[in-house]
């Protein structure tokens, strides 16, 4: 099967997936006993007529399948609708998605840069104290509830004054020079990145270790060793390349995991990302917003997987056959 055909097939597969996802999420949210207008209702200065107007606007008086149909119709047209508070959903997403992408890509970059070497080191030293200590150390970050870790980090920021307490930019951001801006954003990113990094490091490290072990056990590595190549050469020239290949598949998954793992961290750090947006939207049952961000999250996830698969096909011809089975 050639590459273009494979890609088209995969993209076509995505469509029914999106339909199922949208139906599942739409009905789950709408069945919730949550009133999107609750806050308005409790505000003594809001009249009954204002509420009626809002109900009409949000189509809350129509049956659920009609609500879904009208949502789906506009979604296909590329119109994501308005939030419960009357803002354009597309504008809101446009504000948030780049921030979340920034956060996640920095975290992924860092975990890869450190997770791969740690995994290799652990694999080479398999079973001894060094290996076990590395594994335990890397698991530590994963074992703390992320929100708790984030809160402790915020306390750290307050006590030392080294980092700003949450957010992404300072209020005087626009007056800064280019490098000033860069430093400002970096300062804001350090703490959330640390939390997410600690959480996602161990997964990658373990996987790399497992892959490396498998490869080191394989015939061609044994053969290379038998040939009398130095251990350094065996590991870095032969084993490493083959061990990293399957990691590419993991990239897509990691991206997805971070996307949802970041929600609580964004929430605690008041980071203006997609996760915090969706969290707040769910709490208010803001259907258009939840649906749109869910779909975006799903699309990002699927795209991530797709890209990873394609990348894998390009780097490792052996997988082409097995990909067709899945």
């Amino acid at each position: 099967m050639n590459l273009t055909k494979y890609i088209t097939k995969r993209i076509l597969q995505v469509i029914p997936l999106l339909i199922i996802v949208s139906i599942i999420s739409f009905f789950i949210i709408r069945l919730a006993p949550i009133d999107p207008l609750a806050e308005l209702r409790l505000n003594p200065s809001i009249s009954e007529e204002t509420l009626q107007k809002e109900i009409k606007r949000l189509k809350l008086d129509k049956p659920i399948y009609i609500q879904y149909a009208s949502w789906a119709k506009s979604f296909i047209k590329g119109d994501l609708g308005y939030t419960a508070s009357g803002e354009k959903v597309s504008v809101k997403l446009k504000e948030r998605i780049p921030n979340t992408l920034l956060l996640t890509s920095v975290v992924i970059l860092l975990t890869w840069l450190s997770g791969i070497p740690i995994g290799i080191l652990a694999a080479i030293n398999k079973g001894n104290v060094f290996d076990r200590t590395l594994t335990v150390l890397s698991s530590i970050g994963m074992a703390i509830p992320s929100f708790f870790f984030a809160i402790l980090m915020l306390m750290f920021a307050v006590k030392t004054g080294w980092f700003p307490v949450g957010g992404l930019t300072s209020y005087y951001y626009n007056e800064l020079s280019f490098w000033g801006k860069f430093i400002d954003i970096t300062k804001h990113l350090v703490l959330p990145v640390t939390v997410l990094y600690a959480i996602s490091l161990s997964g990658l490290q373990r996987q790399m270790r497992a892959n490396m072990l498998e490869v080191l056990d394989s015939d061609y590595v044994k053969f290379a060793r038998a040939k009398g190549l130095s251990e350094f050469k065996v590991i870095f020239k032969h084993a490493l390349r083959n061990a990293i290949n399957p990691m590419i598949t993991l990239l897509g998954f990691e991206f997805a995991g971070l996307l949802s793992g970041a929600a609580l961290t964004e929430y605690v750090f008041q980071y203006p990302g997609l996760g915090r947006l969706i969290l707040e939207a769910v709490m208010k049952s803001d259907i258009n917003l939840v649906m749109a961000s869910l779909m975006m999250g799903t699309v990002m996830l699927i795209t991530g997987n797709l890209l990873a698969d394609i990348l894998l096909m390009l780097t490792d011809p052996r997988t082409r056959k097995s990909q067709e089975d899945v």
Binding site: T50, G166, V268
Partner: protein
């Protein structure tokens, strides 16, 4: 080698255990830090004066003259503004921001609460006619003059048509009739109401908007108007008249305002206000993050709650902030009981008839009231930074009925009240006279530590009477849905914010058809024939109260309504938090008042840090 290591480790652990177990009993030293008492009295600002210079009718602030320049960083809790259209704001944050950008005809005196001229230079009332004289020579930010046409446009084409948030229209209606508006000359307008209506004058604080800028959108209809001035509008295109001009809005992060260089308020030296160059609102998700930001010196002002008060109080002397005690706040916390005895569309009662009997019983409700331990609630949950509350008006309301003194927890009396109504306690459980076990649900919104803790306490209090309470914190929106739509609840812990100036605002809660008449909600199909005696009286009170014009006439009417609530207990009030704020000392011209808080005079506030610090701190960070 390993064995030795192991032995050493075990030895250490053992030693640590011993160390932990042996603790000498040495009495602590009683050292008490003596701190200055919280100031409770403040010098209130004098009334503003009107001054005319070069044909412009300015307001002259009587506050001390300050320094120009500097930035004030404050915060707003939640998601930030949803619109900058002052006619369309439905939430507190949007209203606050729009209020900075657009002024109304009148405003409220921060200390006395009386109505003061704002865009209007003066007003006078003749019977049902309200004459408004506009200031002359005032300009919109784009240089066009502010005239009576703008006022007429704002009221006739926006408010009276119900564009944006139609609540303003209903607030101005008297028996379904809107007032008439007449233009007398370019700077004078007259409102005529069909009947005398006390809350009317205050309604004129509605923001006046520029006709030439708003009309193209209001002509296009409701949805175009709703989208107008949404948060993504380019700030430099906005035409306004308030003390501050929008400069930048960054979603979920901040809103930045700049001073309006052409504002019509001047200081005693006749220099144009406001003093501060920049006003920054950081958008902060919750109070926990807010306190961290204050601690990290990222924001300048904060409202303190609970034991943060003690912490900041202790450190006040060696710090860069001052703490102000503003007395009881407008917030109230209460338990509401469901008195609904109607049936839904299918003819099924909203709540179990057995339970209805208890809740309809006045003495049962009183027993619940007497069982509640407000003292410990204030002490444990609010850390003493609150006052017990027994009245429907909040403690800082000018209409507070001071004759209602309240009562301490009295389990014995509560038990007697229940016995009188045939309730009986058997094996620690309470049964009604028909032998039904008294058991019901108590709801509150989950995630609110304060209310959850209150729920746990009330559950324990009522269990002393033998009542079985199922305490169920549920998601906020679902709770509101129960209270206002499905009516399937027994008791709930809620909070509302009242108005300290205008008791008529409570009509939503107390009128038998009010949209927040939680304890006995009626939907559109229900009629009001089944009103309870005291519900009828409340309806009359709220009708009459609005028709009387003077404070002395209105006071007894609203005193009576608070008595009714205190006696009938459909809503059992718990406590009202004390409002305590911390503000950096470098911020001057602060005259906190009980009514308006701290930051009501942003145009008079100035920053005096001794030296041009702001620039230094930034590079030093």
């Amino acid at each position: 080698m390993k064995k030795i290591l192991g032995i050493i480790i075990i030895f250490f652990v053992f030693a640590l255990c011993i160390k932990g177990c042996i603790k000498a009993d040495i009495p602590e030293n009683d050292t008490k830090i003596n701190l200055s008492e919280t100031k409770k009295e403040f010098t209130y600002p004098n009334k503003n004066k009107n001054v005319t210079i070069n044909g412009v009718h300015y307001i002259q602030s009587q506050a001390p003259v300050g320094k120009f320049g500097g930035e004030l960083v404050i915060s707003t809790i939640g998601e930030g503004p949803k619109t900058f259209n002052p006619c369309n704001s439905k939430d507190a944050t949007s209203s606050e921001m729009a209020g900075l950008m657009y002024d109304g005809l009148v405003s409220t005196h921060p200390a006395t609460g009386e109505v003061m001229p704002q865009l209007a230079e003066a007003f006078h009332i003749e019977g049902n006619d309200y004459y408004i004289y506009l200031r002359k020579g005032l300009k919109w930010t784009d240089g066009k003059p502010i005239t009576a046409d703008d006022v007429i446009y704002t009221y006739e084409e926006i408010v009276f048509k119900g564009l944006g948030n139609p609540s303003a229209m209903y607030a101005m209606m008297i028996n379904g009739e809107l007032p008439k508006l007449t233009k007398i000359d370019n700077y004078t307008v007259k409102f005529t109401t069909s009947k005398p209506f006390a809350p009317f004058l205050r309604q004129l604080s509605y923001p006046i908007v520029p006709k030439h800028y708003f009309k193209p959108y209001s002509d296009k209809g409701a949805s175009a108007f709703d989208a107008f001035l949404n948060p993504n509008t380019k700030p430099s295109t906005i035409v306004s008249n308030g003390a501050f001009i929008l400069k930048e809005y960054v979603a979920a992060q901040r809103v930045v305002f700049e001073r309006n260089p052409n504002y019509y308020k001047i200081n005693l030296n006749n220099e144009k206000l406001p003093y501060i160059n920049k006003l920054v609102f950081l958008i902060i998700g919750d109070t926990n993050n807010q306190i961290l930001k204050f601690e990290a010196k990222e924001i300048d002002v904060i409202d303190l709650k609970g034991d943060n008060v003690a912490r900041y109080k202790q450190q006040e002397q060696n710090s860069d902030y001052a703490i102000y005690n503003l007395g009881a706040s407008t917030g109230t916390l209460f338990v509401v009981i469901n008195l609904n005895n109607r049936t839904n569309k299918e003819g099924k009662p909203y709540i179990n008839p057995v339970k209805q009997k208890w809740f309809q019983n006045k003495n049962f409700r009183s027993a619940v009231d007497y069982a509640i331990d407000r003292k410990n609630m204030v002490q444990n949950i609010a850390f003493g930074v609150a006052e017990p509350l027994f009245t429907a008006e909040s403690l800082n309301s000018i209409y507070l009925n001071k004759n209602i003194k309240g009562h301490p927890q009295n389990i014995k009396l509560a038990k007697e009240l229940l016995q009188k109504e045939g309730f009986e306690q058997k094996y620690g459980r309470l049964y009604d006279k028909n032998g039904n076990l008294v058991e019901f649900d108590l709801y509150t919104n989950a995630g609110n530590l304060e209310r959850e803790a209150i729920g746990v306490m009330i559950k324990q209090d009522l269990e002393e009477l033998g009542i079985k309470v199922n305490f169920k914190p549920i998601e906020f929106n679902s709770l509101v849905n129960k209270l206002t739509k499905t009516y399937d609840w027994d008791m709930a812990i809620m909070g509302l914010t009242g108005s300290p100036l205008e008791p008529h605002d409570g009509i939503n809660v107390w009128a038998s058809r009010g949209p927040l008449h939680m304890f006995n909600m009626r939907d559109s199909k229900d009629n009001t024939d089944d009103r309870l005696e005291w519900e009828k009286e409340l309806d009359t009170i709220f009708e009459q109260g609005a028709l009387k014009l003077t404070y002395s006439e209105r006071k007894p009417v609203y005193d009576r309504y608070q008595e009714i609530i205190y006696e009938e207990n459909p809503i059992i009030y718990l406590y009202s938090p004390t409002r305590i704020s911390a503000i950096r000392k470098k911020i001057k011209n602060i005259f906190p008042t009980r009514l308006s808080g701290i930051l009501y005079n942003l145009d008079e506030i100035y920053i005096d840090s001794g030296c041009p610090v702001k620039e230094n701190t930034r590079s030093g960070k």
